[in-house]
Symmetry: C2
Subunit: 465 residues, 2 copies
Amino acid sequence: MSGISDDTNIPPASSVDIDMQHVDALRLAIAQGDGTGLRRLLSGEHPAELADRFEQLSADERGLLVELAPDVISPSLLAELEDEVVEDILPLLGPKQISKAMEELDSDDAIQIFEELPAHRRAEVLADMSDAPRREIEDGFAFDEETAGRLMQREFVAAPEFWSVQKTIERMRLRHQQGGDNLPDKFFDIYVIDAHFHPLGYIPLSTLMRSGKDQILKDIMASNLTVIEPDMDQEDVAYLFEKFDLISAPVLDADGRLSGMITVDDIVEIIQDEHTEDMLALAGVNEAGLVDTVWSTVGARAPWLFVNLLTAIGASFVIAQFQAEIEQLVALAVLLPIVASMGGNTGTQALTVAIRALATRDLTTANSARVIRREALAAIVNGLVFAIVLGAITLLWFGQPKLALVIASALVFNMFCAGLAGILVPLGLKRVGADPAVSSSVFVTTVTDVIGFLAFLGLASIFLL
Amino acid sequence: MSGISDDTNIPPASSVDIDMQHVDALRLAIAQGDGTGLRRLLSGEHPAELADRFEQLSADERGLLVELAPDVISPSLLAELEDEVVEDILPLLGPKQISKAMEELDSDDAIQIFEELPAHRRAEVLADMSDAPRREIEDGFAFDEETAGRLMQREFVAAPEFWSVQKTIERMRLRHQQGGDNLPDKFFDIYVIDAHFHPLGYIPLSTLMRSGKDQILKDIMASNLTVIEPDMDQEDVAYLFEKFDLISAPVLDADGRLSGMITVDDIVEIIQDEHTEDMLALAGVNEAGLVDTVWSTVGARAPWLFVNLLTAIGASFVIAQFQAEIEQLVALAVLLPIVASMGGNTGTQALTVAIRALATRDLTTANSARVIRREALAAIVNGLVFAIVLGAITLLWFGQPKLALVIASALVFNMFCAGLAGILVPLGLKRVGADPAVSSSVFVTTVTDVIGFLAFLGLASIFLL
């Protein structure tokens, strides 16, 4: 590895983990009230690296740090921190520092910080900003959360179709040299526009690089432009980026004029956030963050635990209807959880596959009939296989052929219902406009518990006793 | 929206779904043996769009389509199709068509197609390729699956530190005009190298664009370059891209020389794949694809259902030890599933948060002690809260204060164990080098079932009977 500059980030196998030695050094400097040391520890490196370490500190430590050296909270560090951490430290910063950071950042990053400000401080911070960036924040904030309008940055590069490659490059240099550079920090495509600021196509910078300097933009542009409307849900935007391998995409206003740009680095973040949302929703967790305390963890988990308690008691009521039967044949109580558990698992499997397929758009209203059929059939096949196994085990264990038949029949029926519920519940939630991941697993396991208990105990009371 | 060229992809709210009318048109053309119609239907549009429709066809329909019009399987369409679909249609294509497609594509896409070829056809396809691209495939294939070496493309742009902006741009034009353009299809950064081909820094194209033409690369390059080693796991590569908002990153060989490049569009795909893997593993599904048949679905679900059956029977054995107690007090059988279900839910919540935090590197060995403590405390707090609720309900329902106390105590204990298992099982799997998502939920629910049954029935036998 010789010959590589010392600044190069060469990650050895384990360096993707956070470096706790640096965090300990930070803690020490905070404890010693050593502002100079803090400034030294929090400078020079990539802000993402600093953000990772900063986030490992407790809320109290962060507070002390900001008090000792408020200037280490640079605009780029603010842009890298998790939302909940930003929310925590904004109250410690003066309005001037916040507005200055927002002016310096691209408008998409600035809006993300603005979102974390409590409502009563927003006017104060806006008042400190100069006109142009303030208007950008106000415009962006007018769009709903989690839409393209919120996500986009106002800075982009557009050029008229009749410009040459040479002229386009020269104009960019000029815009930069004239100071007050309003080029985006990073951009990847140039949007080609007509006289009305309507997009006609795009030119990846790499195409511009390899094109002859006298070529006209119109002749080298790609016309299969994917444009985004500002009220589009961010999940749909992410889907288009993935599908078309986009690096950036223009956002149009209501008149079809270019009004902003979304870049792939924001999309990567959204994909991660949506994943986290889906997984936590499936597990019945309301929210989880890096900086959770015991109390926020309790609060995030309790609501769905409560719903689960109610549905579990509901399922117990089913069992309670068969107390006489259980007293007569206690083997029923022994075997009961198996039927419910197999149904629950079958349902969870189908549900997870469905949620994932909905997220990746592999499952749509167009092909749902085929997927429903597949899930139902697969559940029946597996139900029959495991009914034979469980029936045989029951026969060996309790020596009662009728009991074996009853549990086998209940298992097939419950697994069939579980497979169907696993696909129909998320599709139904989607159809009524709800998030298919939220609450679907409680629905499904309630179905499988109730049907499992009812089928097994019901069949037993008819055929065994 | 007037004024926008007709080629522009303007996705109305619902267009993110696959257009089934086009799929039906394809089906009709296949049924009629209409090769010309197929060519018309499968041309002109973005290959990602065509791939989506192609994937909606059944395996038989795809086979007929390729027979009727093999030329519609363009290199760019092959690059867009899901791996399992590529695997399906490669047997239908001649070696010449495959090798030609692989020569035309960037080497990372070519390797992905090569991976899907059965081993006995690989030599044949390689033999048809010209030397340079063949060597690229052979070199890339020498790296393990799911590593940076497999992922990278051999095409990238590097320039010596002493070149000027002007000269760099002119050289790219020249490389392009001289034909045999070996520039990557798309690139976003130029890597600045020393005389030994070691990277010194990088210049985003947008920086090159705004820099004066006489500026020297060394003076405008960013030196905080993140470099990738070829044997790095693709998940770690994706993590670095996310953390540092990378658009591309250079891959070095063993001597620290530039040998390839990874771009963000591949990373977006990896993030999606890894996420699907995690969710399915948690739900106990071995694999799921768009084109699954009933049989492959059964096969993907059966193994973990079988494991679940065994653990459920194990838990039933616990109940079986208390048959005498249940006969005496059948309320035990009625209430039994509640304790197990609450424990199962608590465990699943903790487990999912842990799996997600491990995937996003928010949970590391460095901070695991804090997270374990948090999970244990949160489980105890929630356990106490729900023990009071469930105890009160039990008292009202059965009128037995001792039964209420027993179930409340069992619930606290089981939820505490569940919270601990939910965090310790994935951390333990990770420590022994296993995927923490695979099999962890079976472990956790087994723990919560067994402990729940044992605690409730055990306490009941001691204090009630």
